[in-house]
């Protein structure tokens, strides 16, 4: 993996990303703006599951309002994230925070797809009151997304945060 990253870092596309000064700050800014779009969309959906916002609207309406922003924001984050990885591949693959972040993203996205396919269709009634398990899952999803943001920031500090657990230490 490290050899692959080291090779990637010498490719023309990676060198361009590294050397054009504004590319990485601009992509990171877009990445952060998308955290706002995605996290707040999930927050609104989760708070609706908990019955804390938009209780006057059906769950279906709240899902229709916010889930497209969540999915589109995730796609933009994946694309900007991919370019950032190509720009700094060694920094990413030698960071424990990066691998933990990718694992949590894969897990929470799969859980969200399962939720959209199984739990959500059952919430078709005008005023669904979700089970304790679904409410707990909504809170868990928020906690996992908060952890993902923390891990994203921790990539820059991997050795300081994880000590000897960090491959870069």
């Amino acid at each position: 993996m490290l050899e692959l990253a080291e090779w990637l870092q010498t490719t023309p596309v990676s060198v361009t990303i590294q050397s054009v000064q504004w590319v990485i700050p601009l992509l990171q800014s877009i990445h952060i703006l998308m955290i706002g779009v995605v996290f707040v969309s999930i927050l609104m959906i989760a708070l609706r599951v908990l019955g804390r916002v938009r209780a006057d609207e059906t769950f279906e309406a709240v899902w229709r309002r916010f889930s497209p922003w969540m999915w589109c924001g995730l796609v933009v984050m994946a694309l900007t994230g991919l370019v950032l990885i190509v720009g700094e591949p060694v920094r990413e693959v030698t960071a424990l925070s990066f691998w933990l972040k990718m694992t949590l993203i894969a897990a929470v996205v799969i859980c969200t797809i399962v939720f959209a396919r199984t739990v959500k269709p059952a919430a078709g009634a005008a005023d669904p009151s979700f089970s304790f398990a679904t409410k707990a899952a909504a809170v868990a999803a928020l906690v996992v997304w908060i952890a993902i943001v923390f891990l994203g920031r921790a990539i820059a500090y991997d050795a300081a945060v994880w000590g000897s657990w960090s491959p870069s230490a």
């Binding site: 000064q21 700050p25 990171q28 800014s29 952060i32 703006l33 706002g36 609104m44 920094r91 300081a160």
Partner: protein, 182 residues
């Protein structure tokens, strides 16, 4: 005025909090992550209100209702951003104070505040006439569009500060981005 801010920056930098933020290995990433998260909530919740002013996705839900259900969350997240922002500012306050990207960010925040004050103080007074089912007046739509642009600018300049390492707006030509950015 600038002298007063400069002396506040000196006091912050020599304070125990500034010293702790400089010396602690883990404090900075944790504080930065909380700052990113709270800024994301500020931006995302404001975006929902701004889009509603622009009639996106529709004008069906009352402006007052959209505003009311989010405004406390926005201010709470903004409060967290200010506290964590001061914690990040304190360890190198006197250099951030002279940093151009930091200055642009503060000016953008002032512009966002002015845009909000004009909207809340003037445009929003007539909200009952355009609360729902009709397009908001031009002043309200303009405030919404401006707000999205200005907050985007705040986040861009904020991220840029990290690439100046707190000292200088100009990034050296031979800068190597593979070292940890602050």
């Amino acid at each position: 005025m600038a002298d007063i801010v400069a002396s506040i920056a000196e006091i912050l930098e020599s304070s125990a909090v500034g010293e702790w933020m400089r010396m602690s290995l883990r404090a900075m990433p944790v504080v930065e992550a909380i700052h990113v998260l709270s800024a994301a909530v500020v931006f995302g919740t404001i975006l929902i209100v701004d889009l509603r002013l622009l009639g996106v996705p529709s004008t069906r839900r009352a402006v007052t209702r959209v505003h009311e259900e989010l405004v406390r969350l926005t201010w709470a997240a903004f409060g967290v951003s200010v506290v964590t922002g001061l914690l990040m500012f304190a360890p190198n306050a006197t250099t951030y104070f002279r940093n151009a990207a930091f200055g642009f960010k503060m000016l953008s925040l002032l512009a966002a505040g002015a845009n909000m004050a004009i909207f809340e103080g003037r445009t929003f007074r007539s909200v009952t006439a355009w609360d729902r089912d009709v397009p908001a007046p031009f002043a309200a739509r303009a405030a919404g569009a401006l707000s999205i642009l200005i907050w985007g600018g705040v986040i861009f300049f904020a991220r840029w500060i990290g690439f100046t390492k707190g000292y200088d707006f100009a990034v050296p030509d031979d800068v190597n981005f593979s070292f940890p950015a602050q």
